[in-house]
C-alpha cells in the first residue's frame, strides 16, 4: 500500500479523495442540492450495495473459471452449464429436504463430480489444444442446455430462502430525515448480505489456500510452469483434477445463490458464461484477486447503469471491457 503511494503519488491522492467522497456519500445526510442532482440517497445506497452483492455472485462463478484457466489453460465454455446444473440440483435438494443450506453441499458435490468427469473424459484427451477444447466445450454446453431443458423444462425455478433469511433487515445507515426530524434508516434484503458475506469468506478461503498451504503452492507452481512442476515429480494430473472439481463445484454453489436471489431458467447458462468471461477479461485471466475486482466492477456497473442510465445499462459492462482491453489487455490484475 505505502509502496503504491510512493510510486504513484498522484494516483494515490485521487483514490484517497474518491474514497473519502464515497464514505461521505454513504454516511452523511445528503444536502438538498445533491438529491436534486442525482436523486434520493436510498437509490444510490441500494445501487451501491446491490452492485457489491451482485459482484459477489459473479465472483463465485468467475473464480472457478479463472482458476481452471490459470492452471490448465483450459477455456471451459461449459462453465455456464455447470452453474445452471448447480441451480437445478440445489432447487431439487432444497425442495425435497426443506433445508436451504443442504442445497449448497449437494450442488457442490454433484457439479464437482460433473467437473471431474469433464476433465477425465474431455480435457485430458486434448491437453494443450486450445481450439479443440473451446469447440468441444461449446458443443457440450449446447448439449447440456438441451438435456437440462428436457429434464427440468423451460420453467423458472426460484429457490426459496428460509424464513429467517427472507425480508429486509434494518441497517445503521441513514437515508433521509423526515420533516418531523426522525431519521429514516436504510432497509436492505438480508439474504443478499448473507450471500455477499459468504462470497467474501470463500474468496478469502481461496486466497489462503492458494498462498498459505502446500496444495496452494503446487497449484501456483503449476500456473507458472506446468512442465517443470511435473518434471519435479508432482502428480500434476491429480492437482488438475482437484482444481477442476473445485472450480466446477463453486459454479454449482453459485447456481444455488443465483437461484435464490434471481431465478434459474434456460438461458442463464449463457448469461453467466458471458458474465464470467467479461469478469475474467477485466480482472485478468487466472488471477483470483482480479476476478474479485472484475466482478465488483461489473456488478456495480450493471446496478448503477440500471438506475442512472437504464437505456445504456447493457452497454456499460462492455464499455468497461473495451476500455480494459484497450489500455491494459492483460486485465487489471493480470500478468503480461
Amino acid at each position: 500500500m505505502t509502496d503504491f503511494a510512493r510510486r504513484h503519488p498522484y494516483w494515490a491522492a485521487i483514490i484517497a479523495v474518491l474514497a473519502a467522497v464515497l464514505l461521505w456519500m454513504i454516511f452523511a445526510l445528503w444536502p438538498a442540492w445533491l438529491v436534486d442532482l442525482i436523486g434520493r440517497k436510498k437509490i444510490f445506497l441500494n445501487a451501491l450495495f446491490n452492485g457489491i452483492t451482485l459482484g459477489g455472485l459473479y465472483f463465485l462463478v468467475a473464480s472457478g473459471f479463472t482458476l481452471i484457466f490459470g492452471l490448465m489453460r483450459n477455456v471451459n465454455l461449459a462453465h455456464g452449464s455447470l452453474y445452471l446444473l448447480g441451480g437445478y440440483i440445489g432447487y431439487g435438494v432444497a425442495e425435497a429436504t426443506g433445508y436451504w443450506l443442504l442445497a449448497f453441499p449437494a450442488a457442490f458435490i454433484v457439479v464437482g463430480a460433473a467437473g471431474v468427469a469433464l476433465q477425465l473424459v474431455v480435457f485430458r484427451r486434448m491437453e494443450g489444444q486450445d481450439l479443440r477444447q473451446t469447440l468441444v466445450t461449446i458443443g457440450i454446453s449446447i448439449v447440456a442446455a438441451d438435456l437440462m431443458l428436457w429434464g427440468w423444462g423451460g420453467d423458472f425455478y426460484n429457490i426459496s430462502a428460509p424464513s429467517w433469511l427472507s425480508g429486509p433487515m434494518e441497517t445503521i445507515l441513514v437515508t433521509t430525515q423526515k420533516r418531523s426530524g426522525d431519521l429514516v434508516y436504510l432497509k436492505y434484503p438480508l439474504v443478499r448480505v448473507v450471500i455477499f458475506l459468504a462470497a467474501v469468506a470463500i474468496g478469502i478461503g481461496m486466497w489462503l489456500l492458494l498462498n498459505r498451504t502446500k496444495i496452494g503452492m503446487l497449484i501456483r507452481a503449476g500456473v507458472d510452469d506446468r512442465d517443470m512442476l511435473s518434471a519435479s515429480g508432482a502428480r500434476i494430473q491429480l492437482v488438475f483434477l482437484g482444481v477442476f472439481a473445485f472450480g466446477a463445484g463453486l459454479a454449482g454453489v453459485a447456481g444455488v445463490v443465483g437461484g435464490t436471489f434471481q431465478s434459474i431458467a434456460p438461458g442463464e447458462d449463457i448469461r453467466f458464461l458471458l458474465a464470467s468471461l467479461v469478469v475474467v477479461i477485466v480482472g485478468g485471466m487466472g488471477s483470483i484477486p482480479g476476478a474479485a475486482l472484475g466482478a465488483l466492477l461489473i456488478g456495480l456497473a450493471e446496478q448503477f447503469g440500471s438506475v442512472y442510465m437504464p437505456t445504456y445499462a447493457v452497454v456499460l459492462t462492455f464499455l468497461i471491457m473495451v476500455g480494459v482491453l484497450a489500455f491494459r489487455p492483460q486485465g487489471l490484475m493480470g500478468r503480461a
Binding site: G153, G154, Y157, N158, S263, V307, P310
Partner: protein, 416 residues
C-alpha cells in the same frame, strides 16, 4: 448386385416419401423457445397442438405437420427463423411470432414474401398492424392496448388507486400496454407519476425496486416471463408491500405457475387481458378441457396460459380456412386469404373478427389473481367488454392524433 439393390431400395423409399408429402401440409411455427420468454413459447406450442388435436391433425384433406423454429424475443431472431422456414424449407403458411417487437420485424419481412401467408402467434405491439400493415400478415389476437381497456378505470374507481408508477420492459409490446392503461387510467382521473423502463432480460431488479417511489398508491408491472419472476422474488426480499397492478403477461399462467413462492406476492393483483381463467363460458371450458386432455398433467400448466390460447386461435383460424378452401393455396393463396380476412371466430375467449388491417377485434377481460381450491394461482373473472377494436372505440383520426406508443407517450391527461 448388392449395391444395386440398395440403390433401388433407396429410390423406392424416396418415391414413397414423396408420395407421403403430397398428403402432408407443413406449417411453420415460430415461438420463443429460448431466453426469458421460454415458458411462454412452450405453452404457445401447446396451444397449436391443442388446436391440431381439435381438428384431428388434418386440414384441407391433408395431414398437418409442424416445423417449429425457436426465437428468443429479439426481432432478428424472429427474422432468422422466418427466413429458414420460408426460404429454406419453402413453407406456405407460418404461425408466429410470440413477442411484440418480433411481430413488427415479421410484418416487414412478410412484405418481401408475398407468396407466404403469416398468421401472428401472440405478438401484441400496436404498430405491427396499425402502421404500414402487410397484406399477407393476419393477427387474430387483440394488441396490448386493447388488452388494457377497462383496467385503468377499474383500479381507479374500484380500488381507489389515485397515483401509480409504472415499471416495464423496454420494448414495443409493453409500450403498447402502458399506452392503453394510461389512456384509460388518466381519463378516469388517475395520475401516473413515474415510468421506469428496464431492458428485456433484466435479472437483478434490486436497484430499480429501491428507486420505485414510496408515495404512490400502486405500481403497474409490465414485465413477463423470467423477468417477472425475478422482479417478484427480489421485491419480496426487499420487503416491498405496495399495491400491484398487473400487465397482461405479468399475471399470466406462465408466471403464476413458476416454481417457488415469489409469485404469491401477486395474490389480489388486478389486471386485464384477452382471457380470464375462471370465466364461466361453455366454449372456454371446452377449450380448457381439450388442453388438459391433450397433454399429461406434468407436461402442461393446470390451465392454458394466454399464449396457448392465442396460438390456439391463430391455428384454429388457419385450419378452418384450409378446410374451407380444401387446401387450395393456388393464385398466391387468394381464396385462403380471403377466408382468413373474413372469418368470424367463436373462439374460447369470445368472438373474434378482423378489421381492414387484418387486426383482431375482440374481447377484453378484467381479472384478479386468486388462489384456487387446488392451491394454484389463477386469474378470477371480474368483468368483460366485447368488440374492442384497435382504436379502442375512438374515432380513427382522433386516435391517430395520440401518436404511437413509446416510453413517454401518451402523456397522462384527463382528456384526449
Amino acid at each position: 448386385m448388392k449395391k444395386l439393390m440398395v440403390t433401388t431400395a433407396l429410390g423406392a423409399a424416396l418415391i414413397s416419401a414423396q408420395g407421403a408429402s403430397a398428403e402432408t401440409l407443413k406449417i411453420g411455427v415460430m415461438a420463443t423457445l429460448e431466453g426469458t420468454y421460454t415458458v411462454l413459447g412452450e405453452d404457445g406450442v401447446r396451444g397449436i397442438k391443442t388446436a391440431l388435436a381439435a381438428f384431428g391433425g388434418k386440414a384441407g384433406g391433408k395431414d398437418i405437420e409442424l416445423v417449429i423454429q425457436s426465437t428468443d424475443a429479439s426481432p432478428d431472431s424472429a427474422v432468422r427463423a422466418a427466413r429458414k422456414l420460408v426460404e429454406q424449407d419453402g413453407l406456405d403458411v407460418i404461425i408466429g411470432p410470440l413477442s411484440g417487437s418480433e411481430g413488427i420485424a415479421i410484418r416487414d419481412y412478410s412484405k418481401t414474401q408475398p407468396g407466404t401467408t403469416f398468421i401472428n402467434g401472440s405478438s401484441g405491439a400496436m404498430e405491427t398492424t396499425y402502421v404500414d400493415p402487410s397484406d399477407n400478415f393476419f393477427r387474430y389476437n387483440t394488441d396490448g392496448a386493447q388488452w388494457s381497456v377497462g383496467l385503468g378505470k377499474y383500479v381507479f374507481e374500484e380500488k381507489g388507486y389515485e397515483t401509480v408508477a409504472t415499471i416495464g420492459e423496454d420494448y414495443s409490446f409493453i409500450y403498447t400496454q402502458v399506452f392503453g392503461f394510461a389512456l384509460d387510467y388518466c381519463q378516469a382521473g388517475g395520475e401516473i407519476t413515474d415510468r421506469f423502463w428496464v431492458p428485456l432480460g433484466t435479472k437483478d431488479f434490486a436497484s430499480i425496486i429501491a428507486a420505485l417511489p414510496d408515495d404512490v398508491d400502486a405500481i403497474y408491472l409490465g414485465l413477463g416471463g423470467g423477468d417477472a419472476v425475478n422482479f417478484l422474488n427480489q421485491y419480496q426480499q426487499a420487503g416491498g408491500d405496495a399495491n400491484l397492478i398487473g400487465g397482461t403477461i405479468m399475471v399470466d399462467g406462465t408466471v403464476l405457475n413458476s416454481k417457488g413462492d415469489a409469485k404469491n406476492a401477486l395474490i389480489g393483483t388486478p389486471s386485464s387481458g384477452p382471457q380470464a381463467d375462471t370465466w364461466d363460458d361453455p366454449t372456454w371450458k371446452e377449450y380448457v378441457k381439450l388442453y388438459q386432455d391433450t397433454f399429461p398433467p406434468e407436461e402442461r400448466f393446470p390451465q392454458p396460459s394466454l399464449l396457448s390460447t392465442l396460438y390456439y386461435n391463430a391455428t384454429a383460424a388457419t385450419l378452418t380456412c384450409l378446410n374451407e378452401v380444401n387446401g387450395d393455396l393456388s393464385d398466391d393463396h387468394a381464396a385462403f386469404r380471403s377466408c382468413l380476412a373474413n372469418i368470424e371466430m367463436d373462439s374460447p375467449v369470445g368472438k373474434v373478427t378482423l378489421d381492414g388491417n387484418r387486426q383482431a377485434i375482440g374481447t377484453t377481460f378484467i381479472s384478479e389473481v386468486i388462489e384456487d381450491e387446488n392451491g394454484n394461482l389463477v386469474n378470477q373473472f371480474i368483468s368483460l367488454q366485447e368488440g374492442i377494436n384497435q382504436t379502442l372505440g375512438m374515432d380513427a383520426a382522433k386516435f391517430a392524433s395520440l401518436g404511437l406508443p413509446s416510453r413517454e407517450n401518451p402523456a397522462c391527461q384527463s382528456s384526449y
